[in-house]
């Protein structure tokens, strides 16, 4: 008698515990803390489900873009700093003509790359209907018509159905992505977070030894230089330019700091960056923010 009572009690306790832990959605109101996690889930999910986009490999084109050699022609006149010291100055030298600056830009290579980028999102938009169940079952159509007619009274049941559907969709999507990934692994437009961090780390650790700073200068720790760079598939930099030059050019020190950053990225001693050529589409254009604040106290 006593043992059966204990068994019954144990069973009841087990049932109650299961109902509390196992079926939480029936009891609790949604916790506020979950909101940011949901947002993050959506953003990653929307991107992870994208199918691979076929694209033209830019390799052959880039091979053509060899760095042009400086031309041995005459100088083009350009403004240089005025000399203030009184004694000896008579003129200021003009720059020799054949400046290589502009010619260096590998324009024909850069354009097709950007086209590729723009194509990708359009195709992504088309894919959204993927969530629909694939085989159009006639029986399901009949059920749908019935649902339309009934509409009103089943409001309470709807959320349950929706969540079930969502869950199944979600699982299907994960399954699809996993299977697709194994098929289209060569795509350069896809990258894992780990790979992304590895890429950033590779570039950062390669450049740091080549960024030659000027410690001790007044306000050096406050300067931020943004450099844009285009890379070849072999990981070498073809072009680098100061993106925020207009902000920095007024102050000779800031300009000099910008040039140190530019030299760092152009320094071939720190190249090529050892990046996965299959992911070239990801790292062909890089933006680098140089900010020595971490390095300098006062």
């Amino acid at each position: 008698m006593r043992s059966s009572f204990l068994m019954s009690l144990l069973l009841h306790v087990t049932v109650v515990l299961l109902s509390v832990i196992g079926l939480p959605y029936l009891q609790r109101s949604p916790a506020k803390e979950n909101i940011p996690m949901v947002v993050e889930l959506v953003s990653i999910g929307s991107e992870t489900n994208l199918p691979a986009q076929p694209y033209e490999k830019p390799k052959p084109k880039i091979k053509e873009a060899k760095p042009p050699k400086p031309l041995p022609s005459k100088p083009e006149t350009k403004v240089v700093l005025k000399q203030k010291r009184p004694e000896p100055i008579s003129k200021i030298l003009s720059e020799p003509k054949p400046t290589v600056k502009r010619d260096l830009k590998p324009k024909p290579v850069a354009k097709p790359k950007r086209k590729l980028k723009r194509v990708a999102p359009k195709k992504l938009a088309k894919i959204t209907p993927r969530r629909k169940p694939t085989p159009p079952d006639p029986f399901a159509l009949v059920l749908k018509n019935l649902e339309k007619e009934i509409k009103t009274t089943q409001i309470a049941k709807k959320p349950k159905k929706k969540t079930k559907r969502k869950k199944s969709d979600f699982e299907q999507q994960i399954a699809k992505v996993l299977t697709r990934r194994s098929i289209n692994d060569t795509s350069s437009s896809r990258i894992t977070m780990t790979e992304m961090h590895a890429m950033i780390n590779t570039i950062r650790t390669a450049i740091m030894p080549c960024w030659n700073l000027q410690p001790g200068a007044k306000g050096a720790q406050n300067i931020v230089v943004i450099i844009g760079a285009s890379l070849n598939p072999d990981g070498r930099v073809t072009r680098a330019w100061v993106k925020n030059r207009s902000v920095l050019i007024e102050d000779p020190f800031k300009l000099a700091a910008a040039e140190t950053a530019q030299r760092a990225i152009l320094n071939q001693a720190c190249q090529p960056f050892k990046l996965d050529p299959k992911k070239y589409d990801i790292w062909k254009d890089v933006t680098l923010n140089f900010n020595p604040s971490e390095m300098f106290g006062r």
């Binding site: 700073l213 001790g216 604040s293």
Partner: protein, 455 residues
């Protein structure tokens, strides 16, 4: 009770969320995704601190004399840049290619192989009436473009100064800070034994060249300071056995005593406009700070305190005065308004602080510190923060700033074998505490003072 239940529920909910997140989100995290930003962004927050490799070619010329002048000029430029500690001049022997003309673009690949990041080329042309034309170009080897190009015309004997001016232009263009090579040092040249020490006022270029004496050593001279606006030096001399502040005109060689004070005057310094001299006067066992208008020769007392106030120095904008005082019990650094009476102590470290000197840049104050039986040269922010000690020794003293506020010069006394015997030399050190170098002088040297850029 309700509260406890809510807490428990929340805990369970959180555990479930974590579980759910672990099961679902973690694998998701490793799924593929495409860069949402489109472009890879990399933050570089650390770099290296190394001298910039620079190739300074011998300036070309057509005649033998031009070629020799060109070699001398590029030699001075190279030495200046290297001495700054911010440049590493590449050995000329390593050059693969030396351009024949200044009007063609260099073969940058030949310089990139040497890891030269900047390239200096120049040309010397001798023109009638013993004059010369010096032109140079500075190239960015990696960016393959000219950074600066200038032409100077001067008399032939002025080649050394032109070299300093060119070095200043290169320094400024590469670092963004003003140069300091076209400047001079005045210091106390010391000879003789400890008991019969002869101290003379001497002057030289910042690289030690063009050295000559300004006084003959018949009277003891101390603490020389340059005028920021005129070719004048103020210093303390024991001429006539009474220590007084004098002014010396470099061009005319004339010296005169500054004011007729009842006590001993010392530690003089010019105001930033050069029209006033600020100094200390000791009388009746107390030392106070005075200033004298050089136009009217009117003196005005600035401090009134029973403690010793001395070593005054104006801020670059002339609005403040930094000085040291023992009014708090030990010798510390204080800042006060040049016109008001508000005084603020800025040094609080252990030990005694002396000879504060305001940086021409305005952000730092250099000082001498005595602590733990040692002397130090250091810098501190004008707000009293960020004290850093740059150099130390048995006796290091008298810091003076380069015109651009980047380098500090001071003297160091090194005890020698015999009791009381010593050796005194001048040194320079970068603001970062790196690149300490001895300034070579013909004899022992102390009390250096750096001039502003030569006008």
């Amino acid at each position: 009770m309700n509260r406890k239940v809510t807490v428990r529920k929340n805990l369970i909910t959180r555990l479930q969320s974590v579980f759910f997140g672990f099961i679902v989100l973690v694998p998701l995290n490793f799924l593929t995704f495409q860069s949402a930003l489109g472009e890879l962004r990399v933050d570089i927050t650390r770099g290296t601190v190394k001298p910039l490799p620079i190739a300074v070619t011998n300036f070309i010329g057509k005649t033998q004399q031009e070629i020799e002048s060109g070699q001398s000029i590029s030699g001075v430029i190279r030495a200046n840049l290297e001495r700054s500690g911010l440049f590493q001049a590449i050995d000329n022997q390593a050059f693969i290619d030396v351009e024949r003309s200044l009007d063609t673009v260099p073969q940058f690949q030949n310089w990139r192989i040497l890891n030269a990041q900047a390239l200096v080329q120049g040309q010397v042309t001798l023109i009638p009436n013993n004059r010369m034309r010096v032109q140079f170009r500075l190239w960015d080897v990696f960016a393959q473009q000219q950074m600066i190009g200038q032409v100077y015309t001067t008399i032939g004997t002025n080649w050394r100064r032109i070299s300093h001016i060119v070095a200043d232009a290169i320094y400024k263009r590469v670092t963004g800070e003003e140069g300091y090579f076209d400047s001079r040092i005045v210091y106390i040249a010391e000879t003789g034994s400890l008991m019969r020490r002869i101290k003379r006022l001497a002057i030289m270029d910042q690289d030690g060249e063009n050295h000559h004496f300004l006084t003959d050593g018949s009277s003891l001279v101390l603490t020389p300071r340059f005028s920021p606006s005129r070719q004048e030096i103020t210093y303390m001399s024991y001429h006539g056995k009474v220590p007084r502040v004098y002014i010396f005109n470099i061009d005319t060689g004339r010296q005169e005593v500054l004011g007729d004070f009842p006590g001993m005057t010392f530690a003089p310094r010019f105001s930033p406009d050069g029209n006033t001299v600020i100094m200390s006067m000791a009388k009746d066992g107390n030392t106070e700070i005075y200033k004298m208008d050089l136009g009217t020769r009117q003196a005005k007392r600035l401090t009134r305190h029973s403690a010793i106030d001395t070593s005054p120095h104006y801020s670059p904008n002339g609005k403040y005065i930094v000085f040291n005082s023992d009014r708090s019990g030990t010798q510390q650094i204080y800042i006060r308004n040049a016109k008001g009476k508000k005084v603020k102590r800025i040094s609080f470290g252990k030990g005694r602080y002396a000879t504060p000197v305001w940086s021409p840049r305005g952000d730092l104050i250099a000082f001498t510190k005595m602590a733990g039986g040692k002397f130090y040269i250091g810098v501190i922010g004008v707000d009293g923060k960020g004290e850093r000690l740059l150099a130390d020794g048995f006796l290091v003293e008298s810091p003076t700033w380069s015109p651009n506020g980047r380098v500090i010069m001071f003297f160091r006394e090194i005890p020698k074998g015999k009791l009381g015997d010593k050796e005194t030399k001048i040194y320079s050190i970068d603001l970062t505490g790196q690149n300490e170098r001895e300034i070579v002088t013909p004899m022992e040297a102390s009390d250096p003072a750096w001039s502003p850029l030569i006008p």
